[in-house]
Symmetry: C2
Amino acid sequence: MMASFADYKEQRTQLIAQDRALRVDHVRAGSFTDVEVKADRVVRAIRAREAETIWSKEHDGVPKAFPGMDFLTGKSVIVKTELYEILRQMPKGALLHVHQNATVDAKFLLHLALQHRAIHIRVPCVVNASSIKTATPEFKPLPVEEYSGGPGITDDLYTPNTWVSIQTARKMFDPTLGGPEGFDKWLIDIFTINPGEAYETYRTADLIWKKFGSTFMITDPIIRFIPILTEYLREFIRSSIRDGISYIEVRTAFVIRYILGEDAKTHLELKELLRIFERLIKETKAELAAQGRDDEFTGLKVIYNMMRSISKEEMIDATEECISLKKEFPDLIAGFDLVGFEDLGTSLLEHAEVLLRFVDRQRDAGVDVPFLFHAGETLGDGTKADMNLYDAILLNTKRIGHGFSLAKHPKLMEICRERQIAIEVCPISNEILRLTGSMPMHPLPILINNGIPVVLCSDDPAPFNSMGLSFDFFQVLMASEVTGLLTLGQMARDSITFSMLSDHEKEMAMAAWEKRWTSFIKIVAGMEAPRNQVGNWK
Amino acid sequence: MMASFADYKEQRTQLIAQDRALRVDHVRAGSFTDVEVKADRVVRAIRAREAETIWSKEHDGVPKAFPGMDFLTGKSVIVKTELYEILRQMPKGALLHVHQNATVDAKFLLHLALQHRAIHIRVPCVVNASSIKTATPEFKPLPVEEYSGGPGITDDLYTPNTWVSIQTARKMFDPTLGGPEGFDKWLIDIFTINPGEAYETYRTADLIWKKFGSTFMITDPIIRFIPILTEYLREFIRSSIRDGISYIEVRTAFVIRYILGEDAKTHLELKELLRIFERLIKETKAELAAQGRDDEFTGLKVIYNMMRSISKEEMIDATEECISLKKEFPDLIAGFDLVGFEDLGTSLLEHAEVLLRFVDRQRDAGVDVPFLFHAGETLGDGTKADMNLYDAILLNTKRIGHGFSLAKHPKLMEICRERQIAIEVCPISNEILRLTGSMPMHPLPILINNGIPVVLCSDDPAPFNSMGLSFDFFQVLMASEVTGLLTLGQMARDSITFSMLSDHEKEMAMAAWEKRWTSFIKIVAGMEAPRNQVGNWK
C-alpha cells in the first residue's frame, strides 16, 4: 500500500488526469488563454452560486427544482438565471442537427398563419369545453374562391370537417374557452409538447413520439404555403443568428413532393424550396454585411432527408433525386439522412443495399453527398434502432445524429474517436422524447470522457419550446461539475470543424467564430465572481 | 467502399463480434453446452412472445406497460409472466450487496412485531383520516412492567407520543380507517416505498432518500429486539435460499451500539449479533443437510459497515473495532464499507487518511479485511460522490457497491477490467432511488460490453418490495436484446468468483452451483419454445 497520504493524493491527481485525458477540454487545456481560464472560473462560480440561490429553492409552478431538471418544467426557472443570460451571448458556432419544420417558435408560426386569409382550419367536431383537449385541427391554405367564413369552430352550428378561415375561427372562438386568446393558447398547445404530455401522459418514447409526430403533421400545410414558408425560413435564420449560431445544416424532408404557390393552388417542385434558401442566405449575408456584422453568419446548407420507412423502390428514387439536386445545388446540399422514429422504423441494414448502390451512383455522377445518419436514438440494447449504429459506421457516415446508445458500444466508440465521427447530441430532445429522465442521466459525459467529438444540437426546438442552442448548452453545463464554459467553447469550435463546409469555408467560419469568442470571453472574464471559488483550469 | 452487399454483411458480422468481444457471455461462448444454448434460445423466444402478449397490453392499474418499466408499477405484471417463473427457479449464486435491516419482506416483519407484546408504538398526533398520510410512528420494545394498553392511537383520547402496545393499537385501529387490516396497510406503506412516492412525490434521489432513510429509522428498533432479530435473520436466510441464493455477504451497520435483550432492557454488545449469525448458519446447514439439500447453501458472511458521515475519531474507532471483530470472527467478517447517501455524505477522500492507517493497522494485527466500498451511486459528474470511485480504486477496493457512475470513467473502467474489480449492480434499487428512469436507461450494458465483471444485487429488497434476486435478474433480462439467460448465468457464476469466500469455499460453492445450474438449464431447454426464433448463441 502507499507510503503516505501525500503520495496518495499525488497518485489520485494522476489517476484523475489519466481518466480525463481524452476529454476535448483537457486535450486543449494547454492552449487556453489566461482570459479563457478566468472566464471559465467565473462561470463555475456563478453555477455554484445559482445552485444555492436558485436551484435549491421553490419556484412558482416548480416546487422541486434541481440543476439539469426536466426542461419543460424548469424552463421558467432557467430563464431567470445569470448563467442562461451568459450563454445566450455565447457564439455557438454551427447548428448541425435541426429539422426544418421544427425550427421556428410556435407563437411566431401562428402569428404568420393569422396574417394570411388563405389559411383555413377544420376540426372533426365542434370545439367546446369537453372536446377541446382531444379535437385535432387540420390546416390548409385555400385559393381565394374557396375562402370560407363562419360559423366558427366553437359554434354549435359548425359542420364538422368544414374549412373555416383561421382569422374567422380565431375571432369567433367561444369566449368561455378564452375567445381569441383561448384560440391561440389552444393551438400553441397543439403545436408544442407541454410538461404534462412529456412527463405524465406520454411518458415513454413510443407514446411521446405520437404527440411529437402530430405537431409536424398539423403544422406542415401552413409551413408548406410559399408566402409563409419564406417568412418562416427567414425567421429561422434570423432567430438562429440572434442566438449566436453562425452556420446551419438543416435537415429538410423531401417526402411531400411539392410546396404550395401563393395562389394556394399551384404545386411548385421542391427545387423552389432550395431556391428560397439560396435567396435567404444571400439576403441575410447582404443585410449583415451592410451592418458590419459579417462575422455573424457563414451560411446554411441543406441535408436531404427521406423517411426511413419507405420501400426499396422509393429509396432508389430518393437517392437519385438527391444526386440530381446535388448536381444542381452543389453548394447547398450537404448530405443525406433518413428520418423517423428509429425504434419502429425500417433499419439502415434493410436499406443498406440501396445505400451502397447510392455511393456507387454518386461516384459515377461525380458528386459526393456524405451520409449524416440518425442512428442509436433509442433506449434499446441490441434492437434494430441500436444496431443502426453498426450500419451507420459501416456505411461511412460522417457524423451520427443522436448516437444516444453509442456509449454502450466500445468498438464503435473507438472507431468514432479514431475516424473522428462527430456525434450530434441533442440533450433537450433526448429528455423530452424520454430517452433520459433528466440531464444528469444523459450519457453525454461518457462520450466526452472517451474523446468522441460531440456537437450540441437542438433537433426540434419548435415543439420543444427550446429555441436556439442556448438552452441545450445550459442543460449540459448544469449536469456536470467537470464540464465548464471552455468545454462548451470547444464543442462550438468542433461544430465548425465537423460541419460539411469546404476547407476554405471552415477556415473563414472558424476565424469569425474565434474573433467573437475572444470578445465574449473577455466580457465573461470581467464579470464579478465570488471569491474562494477554485476553477477547474488552474 | 465495399464491393458487394455480401461483403458488407460479412464486415458487419465481424464488427458486431469485435464490439461484443469483451462481454462475459461472449468470452465464455465457446464453452457453453448444447443444452445451455438451447435453454437460452427458449428464454429468448418466451421473452419475445411476452413482449407481445403481456408487455404490449393494458393491465389493471398499469395502463402503459413496457419491458423493464418502473418496478413498483410493473411488479403486478412481472409476477404474471412465465419468464419470471423461470427466473425464480434459477440458481442465483451469491447475494453480495444487501443491507441487513432491509432483507425481510415488510409483511413478515410486521407479522413478527405483532407476535410480541413488548413491541409498542407511538405517534406524534392522533391518527385519523387527515393525519394518516403524514403521522410517522415510532416503535420500541418495552419491558413487561411498562406494557401499556389503550386508548388506541386513532382514539381522540390518545395522548400524542405515549406508547401503546402494537397489539392494542392494531385491535383498536379506527374501523373507518380500515380497522386492524387498515393498521397493517398503514404500516406496510410506511415500511416500504410505493410507486406514488418513488415516481411522483419524491422524484429525485435527494427526495426519495429521505423516505428511504425513514424506513430504516422506523423499523430498526423492532429488528434490534433480540427475539425478533433472530427470527428476522432466519427468515432472511430462508427466503434467500427459497429464491435460489446459495451464499450471502450481508452489509451490517455497526452504528447503533447494542442489540436489545429479551427483557427489553439489557443492552447486549454487537458481538451477540455475530453469534446469532453463526448459530443460524450452522442451524440452516444442518437443516438442509438433513434434507439432502446441502448444495443450496454455502453460508453467509458479514461486511462491517459504518456510516460515511462520522468524524475522524469515530472512524478510527470503527476501524479498530472492525479489526478486533475480524480477529474474533475470522470466518464471518468479510470486509469493510461505508454507507449512507453518497451525494450528501462525507467522501472517501475525506476519510482516506484513516482508511490508509486502517490498512497498516490490519497488517500489524495480521488480519485482512478487504474494502468493499460503495462508490459512484450518483448521477453526479465530477461531484464528491462520483469522485469516490477514484478513491475506492486507489484504496484497493475488491468490489464496488453500485458504481453507477463508473461508465463515465474510461480509465477506471480499464482498471476494473484489468484488476477484476467486480461491480455490485443493483438495478431495482437504482431505479427506485431515481438514478435511472427505468431499466432500459440503466448503464449496465455499458459495463457488460466493456468486460467489467458484474454481479447483480438487491440492495434493500424490503423497502423496494423486491425480495430475492429474481426481480433484479428479470429487469436486466427485459432491458436488453443482447443479454440472455446465459448472460445471467455467467453473472451468477461471477457472484461466486468475486465473493470473499476462501479459494476452497469458492470451489465448493461453484461445484454446488454448477450442479444446480445443469438441472435448471435442462428443465428450461425442455420447455416448449415457439418456432422460427433464432437464438443469439448459434
